[in-house]
Symmetry: C2
Subunit: 308 residues, 2 copies
């Protein structure tokens, strides 16, 4: 089943203890779609400027990702510059130039309208909602958000949450949305706002899936915790969360039904793709993984967590 | 098989968002031995003052923990006061009164000398080493330490590490000992200093076991990650790490052999006991668990992490 994703396609300049890379191809929709492309067909809705050329287009083409929904417009693409010199778990943002993204108005190609899976990457919740409403056939809708929208655009965000099947955010965002510092309680509050499932990403410690309606007993309802890969070297954590989302949602979309067992495996595939993303700068590693490598790492994750 | 543990028996005044408790029975050896007592016989080496009375003694007696090695001396017991008002993951220490602990010189009852399992809780590494040398029959020796000893008593600590089979510490301590900010690399450095196995505790995110001699391939050698329990309410995290150690080492000592599969289950039992410890102030919850509750929670942990 195909996934349509709406989000940013951008250029990133990134500095980490491993080095510095100028103007890598990045953006949430890029990481997401590359990661998801190993599992299913992906279609992107985004906007880019004149600096997005044949070289960038080729990255999508090599993974058969549909770019009919990427609007080309005058100006420059979204640009971000950040560093992780002190802390690999948290980027320090130096520059955010929205450029053409400032007036992004998602346009959905008619060929996308049969996508049963829709991913709303981290953009203005007003746009997330508009895309969701324009794609009523989508039967499984997942999304992401960030502190900026949670703090300053809460009413619009709450509207988006109502229409989500799955929300993927981190610990801090979960607690911030809920106004509650206990993760289990916060997860329940967030799920009462709409999402039927909540994936809380813990960075290097993996991620927890909360699903089921009433996580109130001592097992925290139906929770499932996927590990992250203990990595010898984290070259660049940029996009790890979006890559997690791509692996997770890509695997879900590739399966005939989305049972609890499939959700569990999807959590593992999310962690697998997130771990690959960190091994090189930008999307470099995501561009060249084999299915065999993915399956090998899935098995390592099983070995890492299962009793026998 | 019996475990001998050397460490602190103390009184703690603790403040958390859930409330304040004055002078709870605490100390690493207390948490450790209560947690381990659900799995095997435990013998304690410690020192207490005149404030340690029949009420405190009864806690150990109720769990058939041998206290022949607890020396009673003039003065007051070790006292600690701390709070977790801003952050449940990190105590803010208000008062540390070593009292009788300042001149602690461990005395090992002859009846303890056949213990094949020895746990060196977080005390002066000079004392850890002395106890280890006085118990040459111990065939599995595990230990803990903390930032203070790592920073200011490194030579003595390195001597202790040489004699350890298993070291249980947290992320920060691992990186501090190794002088390396990558956990996998740091784990390898620490293990090159002596311990054949390293358990790195991640607080609310569980713990990772590194074992095997050469964790150099992409699977980080033989690593195993146990989750922590997503808890509705963390009443008091004091002693969670010591309780983890007690569950982990207690289970290991209870088994006829310490195979890799047994180590994995021990990681789960460690997390189980750590999660119970957080549910009430001090050792209150650890004093009254049933074996059935332990096994139920073990099964929840399996459910929380296993694909099917």
């Amino acid at each position: 089943m195909s996934i349509t994703v709406v989000g940013s396609v951008a250029f990133d300049t990134i500095e980490t203890p491993a080095g510095r890379m100028e103007r890598c191809l990045g953006g949430a929709a890029t990481y997401f779609s590359l990661a998801a492309s190993y599992f299913t067909d992906v279609r992107v809705i985004a906007v880019v400027g004149e600096d997005f050329g044949a070289k960038e287009q080729a990255v999508f083409d090599a993974h058969s990702i549909s770019t009919a929904g990427i609007e080309h417009t005058a100006g420059k693409s979204f640009f971000w510059e950040g560093s992780y010199l002190d802390n690999l778990n948290e980027a320090k943002t130096h520059i955010t130039d929205l450029n053409v993204f400032a007036s992004f108005s998602p346009k959905i190609p008619s060929a996308y309208r049969d996508s049963e899976f829709l991913f709303l990457a981290n953009i203005d919740p007003v746009l997330q909602r508009r895309v969701r409403e324009a794609m009523p056939q989508a039967r499984l809708v997942a999304g992401d958000t960030m502190n900026y929208w949670i703090k300053d655009h809460r009413p619009a965000l709450l509207e988006v949450l109502k229409g989500l099947d799955i929300l993927l955010i981190n610990d801090t965002e979960t607690k911030m949305i809920a106004g509650n510092n206990n993760l289990v309680q916060a997860a329940r509050v967030v799920m009462s706002m709409g999402p039927k499932a909540l994936v809380v990403k813990h960075g290097e410690y993996g991620a927890t899936l909360f699903h089921g309606a009433t996580p109130k007993d001592e097992s925290a309802g139906r929770a499932f915790r996927a590990p992250a890969m203990p990595l010898e070297e984290v070259v660049d954590p940029t996009g790890a969360g979006d890559s997690f989302a791509g692996g997770f949602f890509g695997y879900l979309a590739s399966q005939p039904e989305q049972s609890p067992a499939v959700f569990r495996r999807a959590m593992f595939y999310g962690s697998v793709m997130g771990s690959f993303a960190c091994e090189r700068f930008g999307t470099e590693r995501l561009q060249q993984i084999t299915r065999q490598e993915i399956d090998n790492r899935f098995n390592i994750f099983r070995e890492l967590t299962h009793l026998a």
